[in-house]
Structures are given as structure tokens and as C-alpha cells.
């Protein structure tokens, strides 16, 4: 059975104080640490969404990346038909640590509910969905490193089975001072326009390594 062809209609890379969209450098920040850099970018892109400030670092990264892909245009399909499939290695470790610290000492025991809600990696999916009004299927996988093969196989299958019409997918990692965001919008386009590339393992690898 020949595989249907899908396309990467958009992608965003966030790493080393830079933000790229479809290969074009959109922003270079001055802040080195993740959260100050994400805040710098948030302000630069004029994103008006105060809930951003409540999010943990992983959610801020995800919100930024998805906003950059979806801000400038119409949604490629209905909210119910967009799915989100994400991967990382560290899960929500940064926030887990903060929560753990807050309950470790009886003297300074003050667990924060707004920290605890972020001690799950899939909350970033929830935040993106709330912002963009996306209701489709979503999963968050934990894997040692970015695996273009698994991503390609799984997302293709979901699109082929019509579980979703488009998929926001990629790698979102934020741990300590390190962050690495690579988000792709994969669609079932029938016409190839400028900047739309084939969705295949090689292309994913190539884009991720840019």
C-alpha cells in the first residue's frame, strides 16, 4: 500500500536565543536564560495573552512556538480536526523540582497549586489548545532523544486514518538553562505552495538539524 503524501506547511525552531520560522530568522534575543528569553520574545512578537506569565518554562516555550506558527494566518482546519503530538526527554522535571522543594521542609512548607498544575508534560498541550481553541487528539511521549522516524510513522498513521486533518508536532524540551523547541505543522495539502515541503523522515531530520 503506497503511503499518502503529507506536507510540512510551517515550522518553528527556538534555540540558542534565536527564533526561526520556516528557516527565516525572526528574532535574536539578548537574554541567555530560558524564561527571560521567552518573555523577551513574547513581548517582541506582541503576543497579548497575560496567562503566559503564569505558565512554567516548558509551557512558555510551547505557547511561543505554536503562536509563531499560528499567529500570522488562519487555522488550517477546524479545531476538532487538529491534533497535537509532542515529545521530550525531561518531562516536566524543572517544575517537578520546584514543587518537590516546596514540600521538602516542614519549616518552609508551602506547596503552590499553580506550580503543581504544571508538574505534567502534557499541560503544554492543554495551554496551546486553550489559546488556539484546538480540540483534537493529543499525546505527549517521553523519549530519550528526538526521533524523526517515530514521529514520521506515528503522525502519518494518524493523518491516514483521518484521526486528524492537521497535526502540530515536534520536540519541546526545557530543563535548567537548556531549551530546544522544534514544532512542525503537518497537513494534508493538495497543492504545494511556496515554502511547503514534503513531510518525510529526511526532511524532519534536516529541519531539526538546521
Amino acid at each position: 500500500m503506497s503511503r499518502m503524501n503529507f506536507h510540512i506547511s510551517d515550522y518553528c525552531l527556538i534555540r540558542h536565543q534565536k527564533i526561526f520560522r520556516k528557516g527565516e530568522l525572526l528574532f535574536t534575543g539578548t537574554e541567555q536564560k530560558p524564561v527571560p528569553f521567552f518573555t523577551e520574545a513574547y513581548k517582541h512578537f506582541g503576543i497579548n495573552y497575560p496567562k503566559f506569565y503564569k505558565m512554567d518554562s516548558l509551557c512558555k516555550l510551547g505557547l511561543l512556538a505554536s503562536e509563531i506558527i499560528l499567529q500570522a494566518k488562519d487555522m488550517p482546519c477546524r479545531g476538532e480536526d487538529i491534533g497535537i503530538i509532542l515529545y521530550n526527554a525531561a518531562s516536566s522535571a524543572d517544575t517537578d523540582r520546584v514543587h518537590q522543594r516546596s514540600i521538602s521542609d516542614r519549616e518552609t512548607y508551602f506547596p503552590s497549586p499553580s506550580i503543581f498544575v504544571y508538574t505534567l508534560p502534557n499541560i503544554v498541550i492543554g495551554e496551546i489548545c486553550i489559546r488556539q481553541k484546538i480540540f483534537g487528539e493529543s499525546t505527549f511521549f517521553i523519549s530519550e532523544k528526538f526521533d524523526p522516524h517515530s514521529l514520521y510513522e506515528y503522525v502519518s498513521q494518524l493523518l491516514e486514518e483521518n484521526v486528524m486533518e492537521c497535526c502540530l508536532t515536534g520536540w519541546l524540551e526545557c530543563e535548567g538553562d537548556n531549551y530546544d523547541g522544534a514544532l512542525f505543522m503537518v497537513e494534508k495539502c493538495t497543492t504545494i505552495e511556496d515554502g511547503i515541503v514534503n513531510f518525510d523522515e529526511e526532511k524532519i531530520k534536516e529541519i531539526y538539524s538546521q
Binding site: 497575560p50 506569565y53 503564569k54 508551602f110 506547596p111 503552590s112 497549586p113 499553580s114 498544575v117
Partner: protein
Amino acid sequence: MEQLIAKLKAEIIDALNLTEITPESINENEPLFVEGLGLDSIDALELIVLLEKKYGLKLGTAEEGKKVLRSVKSMAEFIRANNKG
């Protein structure tokens, strides 16, 4: 009372990460939830933690919580009534 209200506004902004909001822009008589600042259920829980952490006051029930957290003014009055401000 005014000093306490000013202090509370700053503490609320800090606790709830309301980064783009200034203390001056918060009206102490306005509802904190639904309208006004439009805070949500997690924010409510954080305010409960704030009252305990900064003022040593524990809220007993959800009902009590609703009344006390209605506005900055009602929070300040609750603190004063318990001789903590």
C-alpha cells in the same frame, strides 16, 4: 488599612504572576473573580496560600473562602479582623 491594601495588591500581583498589571490599576472594591481581574480557581487557591504564608490565616471552608476572596478590600478586612495586619 490603606497601607495594608497597598501591600496586599503588590503581594497578589507577585503571587499570581500578574506581570502586566500595576497595583494602581487594581480597584480594591472590584470583584477579583469572574469580572474585575478575571482570576480562576487556581488563582483562588494561591490566594489561600498567600493568606496562610504571609498572614498566618487559614480559611476553613469553600464558603468562607468565597466571601473573603471577593475583593482586595474583603481580604484586607479579613486580615484586620483577625488582628494580623
